[in-house]
């Protein structure tokens, strides 16, 4: 018995263990319930889509154009349009986003202007996508006279994903330890040599992941392209950047709005394809992140 701990001090505690255990159990049950509700909904949706769409999935579905007849309708134009648009989106957004991130992280002085820009980039990420559609319609389609083309769509999408790319790239750059920068500077490297030879290569996996995630965000976006006026019935594959186009989510939306029940099942098949593409992209991102992760 340690002499300085008095019985009086001990009597001030009331452990009430039972009540604490009950409170803990309630939290566990609530948490479990939330998980079940969230995952259950998802499972139900996926099951429903699979049940209705799977019978329609075939090679022909992927290689046929849209049609008035559900049996002959396919995703060819939408797949081609999505692929075409994504290539241009990344070509535009990646260099812009990465350069902006490098500037903000490595060059910009920490003053009110930089902070203002940073806050606004974060805000841009939260702007509803339809606003980007309106911007694209006004600026790219009408003012730049690009028409309702793949290029106009890609530029709009590039703006939409730019904040995501900038934020992801900045995080990747920030994860490169200062000790590596110090080592480079101490050898007589300039700032740009340090960025080019060390910071960028080491941040590359993170930048890549950010870009893939940005791409998968853009693939699922519908609203801005609808605003822009992407077509819903496209019986051709776009051949140059100024051609008109459609994309997967628009095609799916189009089918769901038709009265015939077959088209609704066709839409489910389209959703399966879209989900598969998204899942593939995200898996690639996760794989690359694990594979290329560096230790310092």
């Amino acid at each position: 018995m340690t002499p300085h701990v008095s019985t009086a001090a001990r009597s001030l505690f009331s452990p009430s263990l039972a009540a604490r255990r009950v409170r803990g159990a309630i939290i566990v049950v609530l948490g479990l319930l939330s998980v079940v509700v969230a995952l259950g909904t998802l499972a139900f949706l996926v099951a429903d889509v699979l049940g209705r769409g799977l019978p329609w999935l075939s090679w022909g579905f992927l290689t046929s154009f849209d049609s008035r007849f559900a049996a002959r309708a396919g995703l060819k134009a939408a797949l081609a349009g999505t692929a075409y648009m994504m290539v241009f989106t990344i070509l535009i957004a990646l260099p812009l986003g990465v350069m902006a991130a490098i500037y903000l992280e490595e060059y910009a002085k920490d003053n009110w202007l930089t902070q203002f820009i940073q806050i606004n980039i974060a805000n841009l990420a939260g702007v509803p996508s339809i606003i980007y559609g309106l911007l694209g319609l006004t600026f790219f389609v009408r003012w730049m006279e690009l028409g309702r083309s793949v290029l106009a769509g890609a530029m709009t999408m590039a703006l939409l994903v730019l904040p995501i790319i900038i934020v992801a790239t900045r995080e990747a750059i920030r994860a490169v330890p200062g000790s590596v920068r110090d080592a480079s500077y101490a050898l007589g490297a300039t700032r740009s040599q340090t960025v080019w030879h060390h910071v960028l290569p080491y941040a590359f996996p993170g930048i890549l992941t950010g870009n893939i995630l940005a791409a998968s965000r853009a693939i699922g976006e519908t609203a801005p392209l609808v605003t822009l006026g992407a077509l819903t019935y496209v019986p051709f594959v776009p051949e140059n950047p100024l051609d008109r186009f459609t994309v997967l989510p628009i095609q799916i939306f189009n089918w769901t709005s038709k009265p015939q029940a077959e088209f609704h099942d066709l839409a489910a098949a389209g959703i399966i394809v879209l989900l598969a593409v998204l899942l593939l992209l995200n898996s690639v991102a996760i794989y690359l992140r694990q594979r290329l992760r560096r230790r310092y």
């Binding site: 000790s179 110090d182 480079s184 500077y185 101490a186 050898l187 007589g188 300039t190 080491y202 230790r295």
Partner: protein, 294 residues
């Protein structure tokens, strides 16, 4: 020729800190640095009345000392005494810290390295640096050595440079069979010697070492210390160390620094290592080296 600063090494606090709010106590008369008979015949670096601020935080106050060529000079003192800051002033690494401000002079071979016409990038090539934590690039051993050469427009043979640098850093025999191996795959001590080899590869005149052994085991530490003695034949070495034994073992000259409530980052005493350790002039130096504080 004895290079003891002829000017009053005491900081002129009252006149120089316009615009910076310092507690008034800091302007109190600070005792001057105790200089031993230095007998430095060939000075390389001369620090003259150097003061440094990180924003409003003062890190150095009126430091003056002379670093002799091809000798090892140790900077010792308790944590936060400004020894690393002083070290980083000699290759202008502090310039990378936003809001840093410097007063006083640092010259290398008589030329002011903070002069307007001087590019800090060139200073850093001439003054190499080895850091506390080994920081090889996450690349091959070979690329680690060659990076500095490439960016500085080296025209000599690459393979020769890799071998010569690794030999000088006493690492060649351990890694010669696999120069493609990542620098990070080496042991801690090997990594630090790789960092030394990398620094040597750009032919610096001075090598700064910021607690180079604090992350290493005693055997690796001993290897680095032996290496430092060898390197001192061709390079001027300035080392920051927390270990007084290390300072006593490897250095020719020792500078003892201290921060207290009144004066931050000042040089208390500077002299040949043996003299400073056996007959310190300042009471605080004596207390520190005998382990009574710090």
């Amino acid at each position: 020729m004895t290079i003891i600063p002829t000017h009053d090494p005491r900081p002129e606090l009252t006149t120089e800190t316009a615009g910076v709010r310092e507690p008034s106590t800091l302007t109190a008369e600070a005792p001057a640095t105790q200089y031993h008979d230095l007998d430095i015949t060939d000075p390389v670096v001369e620090v003259q009345n150097l003061s440094l601020w990180y924003g409003k935080f003062r890190a150095l106050t009126g430091v003056s000392l002379t670093i002799p060529r091809n000798k090892i000079t140790a900077l010792i003192g308790p944590s936060g005494c400004g020894k690393s800051t002083l070290l980083r002033s000699i290759n202008r690494m502090n310039d990378l810290v936003p809001g840093v401000r410097i007063e006083g002079r640092v010259t290398i071979d008589g030329a002011d390295i903070y002069a307007r016409s001087v590019d800090p990038v060139e200073v850093r090539r001439r003054v190499g640096m080895v850091f506390q934590k080994p920081n090889p690039f996450p690349r091959s051993i070979r690329e680690n050595i060659l990076f500095g050469a490439k960016i500085n427009g080296y025209r000599g043979g690459h393979e020769e440079l890799v071998e010569a640098s690794l030999r000088r850093a006493a690492l060649w025999d351990e890694v010669k069979h696999d120069l493609k191996k990542s620098g990070l795959a080496l042991s801690g001590g090997q990594q630090q010697r790789l960092c030394i080899a990398r620094a040597i590869a750009v032919s610096p005149e001075i090598i700064l070492m910021d607690e180079p052994c604090s992350a290493l085991d005693p055997i690796a530490t001993l290897k680095i210390e032996d290496l430092m003695r060898e390197l001192a034949e061709s390079y001027t070495i300035i080392i920051v160390t927390h270990s007084m034994q290390q300072a006593a073992r490897v250095s020719d000259y020792t500078a003892f620094m201290l921060s207290d409530e009144r004066v931050r980052g000042r040089l208390v005493e500077f002299g040949p290592t043996h003299t400073l350790f056996t007959t310190p002039k300042d009471k605080r130096t004596e207390d520190y080296i005998t382990g009574r504080f710090g």
